[in-house]
Amino acid sequence: MDYLLTDEQKMIKELAHKIAEEKVRPVAAKYDISEEYPWDVIKVIAESDLFGLFIPEEYGGMSVGITNLCLATEELSRACGGIAVCYAASALGTFPIVLFGNEEQKKKYLPDLASGKKVAAFAITEPEAGSDASAIKTTARKEGDYYILNGLKHFITNGGDAETYSVIAMTNKDKGARGASAFIVEKGTPGFTFGKKEDKFGIRASSTRELIFTDCKIPAKNLLAREGMGFIVTMKTFDMSRPGVAAQALGIAQGALELAVKYAKERHQFGKSISSFQGIQWMLADMATEVEAARALVYSCARAIDAGVKDVSKESAMAKMYASDVAMKVSVDALQVFGGYGYMKDYPIEKYVRDAKITQIYEGTNQVQRNIIGLQLIREMAK
């Protein structure tokens, strides 16, 4: 389907496609096994300027918006959902600074994140605070010109490898969700260490790790926005980043579909290509239609954000939820087309199933997305 992309968007898609095919796909299986951070690929992505797509030009970025970030993420995910999330998670960690950083913070942090010299991470999740983000226990206590952070974050994508962290901590426990604040914490700050590195089902090229804060003293000027704004920062960040997760899911689905079509043409049973069987064709037809529907939703949502539409919570949630459900279904069906071979690690398709699963879980489970959509529907009705 023609999405009437601009010349600039086509250029970015083409560039990301080239990186995906030449640099990502050949190493996808290697990093899936080794679980090492793919620094060599990250360097190529950095040199191609793709890290700075959504970052304003005055801070070293390209100022070309969320749609382009989605196009790049989709293309990279077609080849490897794990490597793509290293890229996308840096955007997630960078959004709080783009959206809420003051001039000094933007000048200090954004240029290195735009050039990909450094990668970022976003840290809210804790062992006792997943979907219930208001249950976070990490605290930030103000002492003079500093905040003292204490607590544990876990399941942090890019944890340990990122240099710049956007961290949510409680500055006033009595106020509940309104008592949370957002901070920029640099790797290497005394009292900031890394704990357990997770051994994951999928997206194994990306690092997922604990962040440990033990009397970690950070300058008070590292506070983003104001005290108490932590959850606003988080929600607005997720509104921007969810289309990216949706694009990751879309790319995984597209990649799985392409592999399935190719395999169906190559595989012969009963004396002919299995693609000639209606049973296979109907599966492929459903997969392709769902992928296209997901794409339409993801692109529409990204375009709405770029056009400056104010409240995109519902659309962002819809795009993330639908695209990730499609990714899960399409990758499982693609594996089915591969038959017994698909179940074996010698073939690339099982990795798509493993990589797809997380997209239904992180940045808000799909159940939480449905809550957001439902709540928004009721609010709209009440207006």
Binding site: L15, E47, S48
Partner: protein, 274 residues
Amino acid sequence: MNIIVCIKQVPETTSVRINPETNTLIREGVKSIINPFDMYAIEEGVRLKERFGGKVTIVTMGPPQADSALREAISMGADEGILVCDRAFAGSDTWATSYTLSGAIKKIGAFDLVICGKQASDGDTAQVGPGIATHLNIPQVTYVKKIEETTDKLESSGSASDSRSHKSMRLERMLEEGYEIIETPLPALLTVVKEINEPRIPSLKGMLRAKSAKIILWGQKDLDLDPQHIGLCGSPTQVVKIFTPAQRVGGQIIKGEVPEIASRIVELLRSEVN
């Protein structure tokens, strides 16, 4: 360091068909790319510029659509693209092509280095690079796999006007087995092999720059060339016949018990030798 890189736009696959009547390639419907070996030449040129400063100028001779090859080279970091394009150049063989390109290089002016890919993936002659060096009357080193060292000695012999720069380059040149180290004065022409580097993926900023770059167009009237030596008339090469070699068919399958098969094979091999 002023570097000139000569590139060629070629059809993407090597499995293009040949028109049996004209003995030329059927290019319709085939995507055009930069000759893969030339990608290494561009990359090496850009790396030298990044190390020593200066300018990388890309030159190609071809039809108007070769413009896209020049833009791709600019997206990788080259500064300028020159398209040598004229109906009068059509049908050039390697001799006429290298003569025409040398005319363009002379017009560019002072340079330190000309870099070419070792050969084009369509013609596979590996003659244009050495041909350019011959027409320019400069040293050539072919099959370069590494640039070891570049020296720039300023030697003064008395008066200031007499002092000149003696630039030289130490290179590794690939041989069938091993390599040889060669030192050449500059300006020189190098042809490079794929072992020399890994061509970069262009940056988005590079692609945007390439999109708006102005490509310089030179035709016959812009270059000081002998009309006798250009295009089809100036090409001494004659393609007498191009054909696809007949595929080997069949072969003989020997069936039976193993000892039987073995002795039959020996028998056949013996009769083959005699």
